[in-house]
């Protein structure tokens, strides 16, 4: 059992959720409440990582962030280390890859709130932010929990992108999914088996939480 890899994966998942939680709320609310020309294209762009092969995303990130790219050179000059093959690079990749998981459940939840309610809040003198914080977020909470749990679990299992931009460095970019692959190559089936069981358990807990959240919501109305 490679506990450093598990810790690293948990850390990566937590960072991803921490970054995507606010992004998800604001993008989802914008998409749920505004209508504008080209909206389907914007929604499609945010949903793209759902169908994009991870290696394709990995390839573009490697090209865009690598040591030969302007962005990669700027980052290395600013922070003293390259962006690819580091934890920071994994966070960037993970945030992009999880956009649909962080946005879509929240957007569905916001869409389920009737416009009248928002208008009533405005009539009562609540600002937009107050309406979001006091009225809409408490109503959309199951969507939030679903989005965060899915993002967290999905990050734990990420493999293709991590392999492409991470490089399997212990304590830095060797996540648990990579560690399983590595253990199989070292003929260590027991090690791979334990780590796989841990991931299976975590995934089941995650999916259990999302179902529990939607069941609670149905039982109590919204």
């Amino acid at each position: 059992m490679d506990s450093a890899a598990l810790l690293l994966s948990l850390k990566l998942a937590a960072c991803t959720v921490a970054i995507l939680a606010p992004v998800g709320i604001f993008v989802a609310r914008f998409l749920a409440t505004r209508h504008f020309a080209g909206k389907p294209f914007v929604e499609a762009a945010f949903a793209l990582p759902l169908v994009l092969p991870p290696t394709v995303l990995g390839f573009y990130l490697l090209v865009a962030l690598g040591g030969h790219s302007p962005l990669g050179r700027w980052y290395e000059a600013a922070f003293g280390h390259p962006l690819v093959f580091t934890f920071d690079g994994l966070v960037v990749a993970s945030v992009i890859f999880n956009l649909p998981f962080a946005i879509q459940p929240v957007q569905r939840a916001f869409e389920a709130i009737p416009d009248d309610l928002r208008h009533a809040a405005a009539c009562c003198g609540l600002t937009d932010l107050q309406s979001l914080w006091r009225i809409e977020l408490p109503l959309a909470w199951t969507g939030l929990v679903t989005a965060w749990v899915l993002t967290f679990a999905h990050t734990l299992g990420e493999f293709g992108v991590v392999l492409m931009v991470g490089g399997s460095i212990p304590g830095e970019t060797k996540t648990i999914a990579i560690a399983i692959y590595d253990r199989v190559q070292a003929f260590d089936e027991a090690g791979a088996g334990i780590m796989s069981a841990v991931l299976l358990l975590l995934s089941m807990v995650a999916i259990g939480i999302t179902f529990l959240a939607s069941a609670t919501r149905r039982r109590h109305g919204r």
Partner: protein
């Protein structure tokens, strides 16, 4: 009201967990800084673990080793990967990186890689180092799948292709090949029982994990161009990496490499 409080507690709990998890492993990264990163060809997986353990006992210093295909490491180092020492299975990659200015110098050869034919238990393939049976076995359907490392970027894959060509078996077997991303994966494919055999590194074929699942025979050196394994420090190398580099050239490390089936360097 109770349900409202519960919702709020759940959301706050999630936020608190995320913040804590994001914050604590900063300490983890600081610990990891001490041990230098070594990029090592996949054929070294068992030998180098042993050498690193000896090195730790003798000096008290740790190294972090990443195993993979030499071709991938060559690209990663050129992209700025933070390795301090590169042990390649093919000296061409070291020379190329040195030319591009990523290495401290041209490095030194540390071993010569040898190939082995690996045949899992129960496979109908004959154990013949000259690979005489392979073309026939591919023709009469005894071999449906055969594992080698990817010749595009793994040196052992390229050597395996040369050996198969020399034996006159390449054309018969090429559409039966399964390609490992590196030679360790090819070995895993070869002994998994889903293939009828494979050509892999002798150092991996001799590892205890392969024994009991497969038999192997050494492939004669004249079947392929020599796999001169060269290592070099990168421009990022610090003192521990330099110390380990010197250790690898010492008698104790040489003995371990020889025991794992590597030939003497050069």
């Amino acid at each position: 009201m109770a349900i409202l409080r519960l919702r709020r507690a759940v959301v706050r709990g999630c936020v608190a967990c995320a913040v804590m998890l994001a914050a604590f492993p900063v300490a983890l990264a600081a610990v990891a800084d001490a041990a230098p990163l070594v990029a090592a060809a996949a054929d070294l997986r068992f030998a180098l673990d042993e050498i690193a353990a000896d090195f730790r006992r003798a000096t008290g210093h740790d190294v972090r080793i990443v195993y993979g295909s030499s071709g991938n490491f060559r690209r990663q180092i050129a992209e700025g990967a933070p390795f301090e020492l590169f042990l390649s299975a093919d000296e061409a990659y070291v020379h190329a990186l040195a030319r591009e200015g990523f290495l401290a110098d041209e490095g030194v050869p540390y071993a010569t890689g040898r190939l082995a034919l690996v045949v899992p238990e129960g496979s109908p393939l004959k154990l013949d180092g000259e690979l005489g049976d392979l073309a026939t076995a591919a023709g009469d359907g005894r071999v449906r799948r055969f594992a080698i490392a990817n010749p595009e970027h793994a040196p052992y894959g390229r050597a395996a292709r040369e050996a198969l060509q020399k034996a006159g078996a390449w054309d018969a077997i090429r559409d039966r090949l399964v390609l490992g991303e590196n030679v360790a994966q090819a070995t895993q494919f070869a002994v998994s029982g889903s293939t009828q055999g494979g050509i892999v590194a002798l150092s991996l074929a001799r590892s205890p994990d392969v024994q009991g699942r497969a038999r192997f025979v050494v492939i004669p050196e004249r079947m392929h161009a020599p796999l001169v394994q060269r290592m070099a420090l990168t421009r990022r190398a610090q003192s521990t990496a330099r110390e380990f580099y010197a250790w690898l050239r010492g008698p104790q490390a040489r003995a371990v490499l020889a025991r794992h089936g590597f030939g003497a360097p050069g």
